[in-house]
């Protein structure tokens, strides 16, 4: 019963995601402000757009999988339930001939794009915040967008790397391994652009920019262990171990959460009209950053020495020497969890008692900073903004300082023009 409700809730969730993606794609394509060409959209908006495109096709596969699963559970069909299945010492007789592997294929065809659905919005938020903190454009914001597109495209060709030990033909494993390794190319370009643009920039240290930089750290650390897992011969050993848990918590779980924290510190003033406390924010960052590494780095070592995952208790003798590592991880996890209370306190306290936020506290250029904090009804108070510039006109001389807002009609010498000068 509980499992059926769960499957139904996932199906409803899929429908919700499909409609959300549909709304976002259509809005992005058709209902932009005047002058807002696609390439003038901020990277964060681009990331949401690409994420919606991935989600549209990924959830369109999860939904049928859930429909078939629900029918197997309530209508007596045998799509996935095989013959002679024993559950809780009971032989299942009313089903026969189903294919559990079919479920795995359908699920992971959704499941791997889902990883990028989780990480790309964070990557977009982080790119946006980093540019604002660097006070200069990224080396190329178009390349960032193209890399995100490449990641989205490749995400559909790699689902089999979750199934290397499902008994698949070794040649199939090779076919899935190759695009998995190719995906690291756009991911590496993204990382190099983020780090390369830091060189020589006028970095502003804020809670938001710290979390954005922390995101890069998590993304790289978790990404590197992906190289190991992408190779079928190594994955056969590591697949059932804590190595995998450490890998995906770093690269997908915590990195995405760092993106959310960065976005919250960055946009909370716009949402609530009050600044969040920066000191508490920085304490929160360092606690979370150190705590996360203390939790998930040991996971990799546990995995390498063969600590199996998905066990509720470790009673085997060979795992006994690893118990101190588990204890350390538990303490680190409790510590990191406690640090999040600082964030919750900060969020709730500043919501009501925080310092009043100016319209544009971070001296950012995108449209949301042109309106009051919090924004008026209908976001722009019934007016339609007109866009004149690329989203990242930083590091230039203008009447407002070192940046130009997107809706400012001021004529400026763009950075690109500057490079062309002899």
């Amino acid at each position: 019963m509980g499992q059926t409700v769960w499957a139904c809730s996932i199906a409803i969730f899929s429908i919700g995601q499909l409609l959300g993606s549909l709304n976002f794609i259509t809005t992005t394509l058709d209902l932009r402000a005047k002058g807002m060409t696609l390439m003038r959209m901020p990277i964060s908006t681009w990331a949401w757009f690409i994420t919606s495109c991935i989600g549209l096709l990924a959830f369109a596969v999860l939904l049928p999988a859930c429909v078939l699963l629900i029918l197997d559970r309530v209508a007596g069909t045998s799509f996935f339930v095989p013959s002679n299945l024993v559950v809780s010492d009971q032989l299942i007789t009313q089903h026969s001939g189903g294919s559990p592997l079919l479920w795995q294929h359908l699920f992971w065809f959704f499941g791997h794009p889902e990883v990028y659905i989780a990480i790309l919005p964070a990557a977009g938020i982080v790119s946006h915040i980093l540019i604002t903190s660097y006070r200069r454009p990224l080396l190329s914001h178009k390349v960032v967008i193209y890399c995100m597109m490449a990641i989205g495209f490749l995400s559909y060709m790699v689902w089999g790397h979750h199934m290397f030990i499902s008994g698949m033909n070794p040649f199939s494993a090779l076919v899935f391994s190759f695009p998995t390794l190719v995906i690291t190319i756009p991911a590496t370009i993204l990382t190099l652009i983020w780090i390369g643009s830091l060189y020589g920039s006028n970095l502003q240290i804020t809670s938001a920019s710290l979390f954005a930089l922390g995101f890069i750290s998590m993304f790289v650390t978790g990404g590197i262990s992906g190289f190991f897992l992408a190779q079928p011969s190594i994955d056969v050993y590591l697949h059932g171990t804590y190595f995998v848990v450490g890998h995906f918590h770093m690269v997908m779980g915590v990195a995405a959460i760092f993106g959310m924290f960065a976005g919250t510190y960055f946009w909370a003033p716009k949402m609530f009209g009050r600044m969040m406390n920066e000191t508490l924010g920085k304490i929160h960052f360092w606690g979370t950053f150190v705590g996360t590494y203390c939790i998930f780095m040991p996971f990799h070592y546990l995995g390498l020495v063969g600590n199996v995952r998905r066990y509720s208790a470790f009673v085997d003798d060979y795992l006994a020497p690893l118990m101190p590592v588990h204890k350390f991880i538990t303490i680190a996890a409790l510590f990191t969890g406690a640090v999040q209370l600082i964030f919750l306190y900060n969020l709730i306290y500043s919501r009501f008692k925080g310092e009043a936020a100016p319209d544009n506290p971070w001296k950012a250029t995108s449209l949301e900073w042109t309106v009051t904090s919090p924004p008026p009804w209908n976001n722009f108070g019934g007016k339609h903004p007109v866009v004149y510039h690329d989203p990242y006109q930083y590091g230039i001389e203008s009447s407002s300082g070192d940046f130009v807002m997107q809706d400012s009609p001021e004529r400026i010498q763009t950075v690109r023009d500057d490079k062309k000068l002899p």
Binding site: A60, P64, G97
Partner: protein
């Protein structure tokens, strides 16, 4: 009717001569394209599941289709034709901002034929049940019911779209892009049905 800047009262304009607003946004049209992409992906997933499931065990059972299925097919194709006739009427009269009565009748015809298709599908299920072919009888019948029921649900969605178009039309606030979007969805349902019929005919 001469184009006036401010139509005095929509209710006073006879049904045959309703103003069609020129579109002010492509959003409904784009939205339907995006939705069709998702629907295509969904049915592609079902198709691949069916192919894999057929090959994974020896319990596939062939059964003859109810004849009414072919009549339903014709009904659905005919409804697409009437919708296109209705749309042609709108396109021609758009510049004069009026709608001809035959076009309106063709639209109602589409609605009736669409309902006829859904009822016909229900009769097909009923016939199969009376022959002892149930959802859980065999994987082939499971897929048959899944495909036809989900398609019928999508057709009912299309019927809602047509009702929406008609209600907008009756209030005189229909946009071209809304009409185009609804009809594109409707034609897609006919094409999807032809694909499903061919697929089920080959496999079952």
């Amino acid at each position: 009717m001469a184009a006036t800047l401010q139509p005095p009262s929509i209710a006073k304009i006879p049904l045959e001569v309703r103003r069609v607003k020129p579109f002010d946004s492509e959003a409904p049209s784009t939205g339907v394209w995006v939705g069709l992409a998702a629907i295509t992906m969904t049915f592609a997933a079902f198709t691949s599941a069916m192919v894999v499931r057929q090959g994974s065990a020896n319990d596939w059972r062939h059964f003859p289709f109810p004849t009414i299925l072919y009549i339903n097919t014709l009904t659905l194709i005919l409804s697409s034709v009437t919708l296109q006739i209705a749309r042609q009427g709108f396109v021609l009269t758009d510049q004069a901002a009026t709608i001809a009565k035959p076009a309106m009748n063709a639209l109602y015809g589409t609605l009736v034929l669409g309902c006829g298709f859904v009822i016909g599908q229900y009769m097909a299920w009923h016939e199969l049940r009376s022959e002892g072919v149930y959802l859980s009888s065999a994987p082939s019948s499971s897929f048959f019911y899944v495909f036809t029921v989900l398609h019928a649900l999508h057709v009912i969605g299309g019927l809602c779209g047509l009702l929406y178009v008609i209600s907008k039309l009756r209030r005189g606030v229909l946009r071209r892009s809304t009409l185009d979007a609804a009809s594109r969805y409707w034609h897609f349902m006919a094409i999807l049905w032809l694909y499903l019929l061919l697929l089920l005919w080959m496999r079952i």
